[in-house]
Amino acid sequence: MNTIKKETQSDIEELLPWHAAGTLSRRDTQRVEEALASDPELARRYELVREEFGETILLNETLGAPSAHAMEKLFAKIDAEPARKQVTSFNLSTRVAEFFASLSPRTLAWSAGAAAIAILLQAGLIASIVVKEKSEGGFETASAPSTDPGVGAFTLIRFAPQASSDDITKFLEANRLQVAAGPMPGGLYKVRVAVTGLPKGEIARIVKKLQEDKVVGFIATSE
């Protein structure tokens, strides 16, 4: 029992530097905080770690910076490089982020205006799709065709006009979502919420949760 406790203490002690830097996972942070609260000797050692942390930052900050010539040298080397071909091998979230970043503020403003008009039309369209699904037990939409190769559980999302590309990228990553198709007319995206099919109740629960995020302008279930 004591051996196990010692091993755990040693394991926790090894994590102290990362705890000081704030780079531990939530689970490990909780483990360390609980151990610190109950072990005064560990708490004392943590203070040593915090001293090292502070002085390492100070030491590095005194190292100065490179001269302005560094950038000149770099671009002289870049100029000497052969002309490059366009490369398109980026992951989807980067492409989504790049797409939004490429829009000028004026374009975004016009898009927001157009989206406002489209919202009413699409809300009606999607609502009718949902009603139809309930009454007939199955459907095929124009905006989310059943021929989509993806399998799993899907939703249709239109992002809030004020959401930035970073917000959307973070939202997709935080909720482990994948954009399966889009943008469709009206700025709708077909978004996969699970890799396997889910019961309707479960999808409804996910939709309700995602709806609370400020990034989401509109969301509905999809097949």
């Binding site: 530097p17 390492t56 870049i78 091998s89 980026f90 790049e98």
Partner: protein, 186 residues
């Protein structure tokens, strides 16, 4: 104000966007320089190396897959460049530079102790760690890299990252003890 993410900059750099390269350079070159400088301990060499590091970023941007943060990827490139430069340099030259560097950045231990400046002695001790130990301490404390990220940059298993950091800190305590500061650990 919205800032463009590093990932977006890399995507633009892959397409040959020089302005994106300037932004990325402005955002990261000081930290990359300091990381390299702590390894090679020569300012001129470090400055030469960072242009090489960012040239590699320019060349390799199209291959970046976003599996790690851009800053982590750049530190991996920087580390490789720094170690290659160290391998090319004669041992004696490095030792002389090391001594100069220590003199440059902190008071000597006696002076620092006389000033009762424990923090200065600690910084002095940090400068005296081996390259391997300095590297891991900087990555964890200054560059704020997680266990997983350090493992990726240094190319060692995560368990080894934790034990190497532990032994670096232990060595730090030993150096401090030699300078007259007993931390009561380990």
């Amino acid at each position: 104000m919205q800032t463009t993410s590093d990932e977006v900059l890399i995507a633009r750099i892959a397409g040959g966007d020089r302005l994106a390269m300037q932004v990325l350079f402005a955002r990261h070159h000081v930290r990359v320089y300091r990381f390299v400088l702590r390894l090679v301990r020569n300012e001129a060499t470090a400055e030469d190396l960072i242009s090489d590091v960012f040239l590699d970023v320019w060349r390799q941007a199209g291959k970046f897959e976003g599996r790690s943060a851009v800053s982590t990827w750049m530190l991996s490139i920087a580390r490789f460049k720094a170690l290659s430069a160290l391998r090319r340099k004669p041992e004696q030259e490095l030792d002389e530079e090391t001594a100069e560097q220590i003199e440059d950045h902190a008071d000597n231990p006696e002076v620092a102790l006389a000033k009762k400046d424990k923090a200065a002695v600690l910084r002095q001790a940090l400068s005296k760690l081996s390259a391997e130990h300095r590297e891991i301490v900087d990555l964890v404390y200054y560059h704020e890299k997680s266990v997983e990220e350090v493992a990726g940059i240094v190319g060692i298993p995560e368990a080894t990252v934790k034990t190497r950091m532990f032994y670096a800190r232990k060595k730090l305590s030993e150096i401090l003890k030699e300078q007259g500061i007993d931390r009561g650990w380990p």
